[in-house]
């Protein structure tokens, strides 16, 4: 259409004559597809809403709202700029310096990253521990949460009381709870140890409780147990909401066709709630990557193997606020950010293979 108009031939206009917007970059079609797929939902949500407005009463230009809108945004945006946007950039800058807050910072290039990735066995340990916590906590929490949700998604006596109890740990203060669990995991007089002694007495088996929080092999499971106890109720409630949305007709039809309870669960419930599973998977993975309070409170005062429960965030905390290595801690924070971003991205790519979205949605 615009080809009749004489205009200078630019690479853009050569590639795609219909593109008259100057801001449009000459992306290869492959790249463009990728972006639009990955952020498909996002951009769809944004464009849908703007379409609605155009159709409604916004066909008219409203210059009076321009500055008003900026004023409405100002408090929030200023806060953002100062406490989120600039700090993110500052953290990146800090990751290239060595700085203990007292003497002036010195530029060290990528030395912080190089040291982390090649010369720091403790960081590698923290990475390993974080990975351990993620691959144990996330699947277990999904399984327990779903089992509880299925059990409590029916009319049984006291269902509300059960829900109240199972959700209770979610609202508690993690520091106080971790303290209680530290005491429960006490080697000699803790509740868990007492139970194991009791079991040994009853069965005559040669078993004895481990020194949970001082043991390299038992400190991690102790943290996992605390986390499961604390967060399974949350998973349950989210799954309950997901289960409520599954149409009863599907179960009725399957029953008519003779499907047993397990088949109905496996073939109807699991695929129908896969969007909920995906949501929980992503946010719990992000949460597991950021584990800090639990290991900090449970194992800090223990004489035992601190590094057995050292997570990435714990190590960031130590470097910044105990060892005075602001640069190294910032580099680690950026590594954490990259990891979270990468794994979230991978999850969103993989979801197409297993997450079932209804056509109508």
């Amino acid at each position: 259409m615009s080809r009749t108009v004489v205009r200078p031939i630019t690479p853009t206009s050569l590639q795609d004559p219909t593109m008259s917007l100057p801001s449009r970059k000459p992306l290869s079609s492959k790249d463009e597809n990728k972006t639009s797929e990955d952020f498909g939902e996002l951009s769809r949500a944004v464009s849908e809403t703007s379409e609605v407005y155009h159709r409604r009463w916004w066909a008219r230009w409203r210059p009076d709202q321009q500055w008003e809108a900026y004023l409405f945004l100002l408090p929030s945006f200023a806060g953002f700029l100062i406490f989120v946007a600039l700090p993110v950039v500052a953290a990146l800058a800090l990751s290239f310096v060595r700085w203990n807050l007292l003497s002036p910072p010195t530029f060290v290039g990528t030395a912080n990253y190089a040291q982390l990735l090649t010369h720091d066995p403790i960081f590698r340990k923290a990475l390993w521990n974080t990975a351990y916590f993620t691959v144990t906590i996330v699947p277990l929490q999904l399984v327990f949460g779903l089992a509880l949700a299925v059990a409590l998604n029916r009319a049984i006596r006291g269902v509300m009381l059960y829900r109240l109890i199972y959700f209770m740990p979610v609202v508690t203060t993690i520091v106080a709870v971790a303290l209680v669990f530290q005491w429960m995991f006490n080697r000699n007089f803790g509740l868990f140890s007492a139970m194991i002694w009791r079991l040994a007495e009853l069965t005559d088996l040669p078993i004895s409780p481990p020194d949970w929080l001082s043991s390299t092999s038992w400190a991690k499971p102790a943290v996992v147990i605390l986390t499961l106890w604390k967060n399974t109720g949350f998973t349950m409630v989210i799954y309950l909401a997901g289960l409520q949305a599954v149409p009863q007709e599907l179960y009725d039809a399957a029953k008519v066709d003779g499907a047993n309870a397990w088949q109905r669960f496996r073939r109807i419930t699991v695929p129908m709630i896969s969007p909920t599973t995906f949501f929980l998977l992503v946010i719990q993975m992000i949460g597991a990557f950021q584990l800090f309070s639990e290991p900090y409170v449970m194992t800090r005062t223990q004489s035992g193997p601190l590094q057995a429960t050292l997570t990435i965030v714990y190590y960031i905390y130590q470097n910044a606020f105990e060892f005075g290595r602001m640069g190294k801690a910032s580099a680690m924070a950026w590594v954490l950010f990259t990891l979270i971003f990468a794994f979230t991205f991978i999850q969103t790519r993989l979801q197409r293979r297993w997450v079932h979205y209804e056509a109508g949605e």
Binding site: L161, R300, A333
Partner: protein
């Protein structure tokens, strides 16, 4: 009452497939599904009760220890009911650690953060949802992008900034960096979008300003969303640990979680006192939860971020 709802529907009808309650459209959360046989029903209860015991055990253990004399703590087998209820543990705990001050700090911080977050987020959400301006979509995408940033990345520069401003160990430092939330803005925007635009237009025809529309129309109509968001923000701030830990140093400025952590450091093996401290720390949240369960659950699930 909640109990009666669950119980009566089982008791009244026999286990007849025709009696299966229809899902009531207004309350999808309460849709009824019926166990098939009595044996299964009992087995289910057995499992659920066992699970409940596991969930409640730490609370019971905490309460029991907090009321024991020291000599009864280190015993095997453990004593559940102390031979003498040692109420004085609580008096000792409160006298050796300024728990009143911790409460006050936590309350000031959590309340301020909640009010500021709702104020700034609702103003921004109003602009994003109800006003038209250049760069709206770009700015909104920017907000969404910041949702990905973990707090740990911004923590160190914020710490440096607070020291630079001379705010280290102050209320400003505890409150301001957490008083702005992209998540709250996003959630409120979604809610605001569901309110009919005709309301704004009618108000504008009557000469109402945007500020007035925000305060007198949109905010009152968003009561449930704002209440849920407030619960969530308050709880998250109340339970927050890492930022208060790094940004405060004096005992007077510690919030409840950091105060308990300091208490733990000083009274390492005095479990009767530590458990009394834990009870003191947990009690208000638990009471609020039991009273306002519906709102707490709604708040936590609305934002989907858990109590972390």
């Amino acid at each position: 009452m909640a109990l009666a709802v669950g119980g009566s529907s089982v008791g009244e009808d026999t286990f007849d497939s025709k009696a299966t309650a229809k899902p009531s459209p207004g309350f999808p959360l309460e849709r009824i599904r019926r166990p098939t046989s009595l044996a299964r029903h009992l087995a289910l209860h057995a499992i659920l009760i066992a699970g409940s015991v596991v969930m409640l055990l730490p609370f019971a253990w905490m309460l029991s220890t907090s009321l024991k004399e020291p000599r009864e703590i280190f015993t095997y087998p453990p004593v559940w009911i102390p031979s003498r209820i040692a109420w004085e543990n609580y008096a000792t705990t409160v006298s050796v650690m300024p728990f009143g001050r911790f409460y006050f700090n936590s309350f000031v911080v959590a309340t301020s953060v909640t009010l500021l977050q709702i104020l700034t987020s609702s103003l921004a959400a109003f602009a994003f949802a109800r006003l038209r301006f250049r760069g709206r979509n770009a700015l909104f995408l920017l907000y969404l992008a910041t949702l990905m940033i973990p707090f740990q990345v911004t923590m160190i520069p914020n710490f440096v900034l607070m020291r630079f401003l001379g705010w280290y160990d102050s209320y400003q430092a505890l409150i301001l960096p957490t008083a702005f939330s992209a998540l709250s803005t996003f959630l409120l925007r979604q809610y605001f979008l569901g309110i009919p635009m005709d309301l704004d237009e009618a108000a504008r025809m009557d000469g109402a300003s945007s500020l007035r529309i925000w305060w007198q129309i949109i905010m009152p109509l968003s009561g449930p969303a704002i209440a849920a968001l407030a619960v969530f923000t308050f709880l998250a701030s109340w339970n927050d640990f890492l930022w208060p830990l790094v940004i405060t140093t004096s005992l007077e400025m510690r919030t409840l979680p950091v105060g308990i952590s300091a208490f733990q450091g000083q009274y390492n093996v005095q479990w009767h006192l530590l458990m009394a401290g834990s009870v003191i720390a947990m009690l208000p949240v638990l009471v609020i939860y039991v009273i306002g369960q519906k709102w707490v659950v709604r708040g936590v699930t609305l934002t989907g971020m858990g109590g972390r």
